[in-house]
């Protein structure tokens, strides 16, 4: 059984390594992410959101759903910690 698991892990790892060959190079200026959304954010952040910090405008404005999910994850972690650990007498 453990031999079988090793085989599965090896095959999956090989496939993942094979897939990374197709990814754009690190910092490639012509990759899709750098030619499509990044210039849009850099050019329009000030006039659309009046926020000089592009990271904040992407985090909280353009990608607001994502941050809502992150906040919910943190909230869930806190609630689960109370439920599992707190002992009421």
């Amino acid at each position: 059984m453990r031999f079988f698991a090793l085989i599965v892990v090896l095959i999956t790892g090989t496939l993942l390594l094979y897939a990374t060959v197709d990814m754009p190079d690190w910092g490639d200026p012509y990759s899709p992410a750098n030619t499509h959304v990044s210039p849009r954010y850099i050019e329009k952040t000030i006039e659309e959101t009046a926020t000089p910090n592009i990271v904040t405008s992407v985090l909280a404005d353009y990608r607001g759903y994502d941050t809502l999910g992150e906040t919910t994850v943190i909230f869930t972690a806190g609630v689960v910690c109370i439920l599992l650990l707190r002992r009421f007498k």
Partner: protein, 151 residues
Amino acid sequence: MTIEFKDVIIQTICRLLTPPIQLYALYVIAHGHYSPGGGFQGGCILGASFILMVIAYDIGEVKRRMAEKMNTIFCSLGVIIYSGIGAICLILGANYLDYGILHKILPVNPVRARALGTLGIEIGVGIAVMAVMISIFLNIASGGEHEGALE
């Protein structure tokens, strides 16, 4: 077993440091538009100031300043502020979390309204992160008992 822990130097330093730490945390939250920072980082610093208080004094000292019930309410209040601002945008007729529409109820133009909406949700995130940090630390450090000093 808990050990009574009193050290004049540590407690005095804690008393002196806690207000600047909390002020700095509020600065990090409010200044997230112009410098690195925001709700997550500021909330962590705010929670760390309470954790410093647990370490220097004991858990009772923190629970006198931030009751457990209050802390649990703050946990959910942060998420409610965030999703509430999104729901207000929905009620005013825009998409969920599309803060531009907030200019209908705020005396600013749509672009500034987006910045203010961002600030609002950063405050919500900061409150939630602070309360969750305190809650997780207290529960893990005291094994759920919420009593006495740390061992």
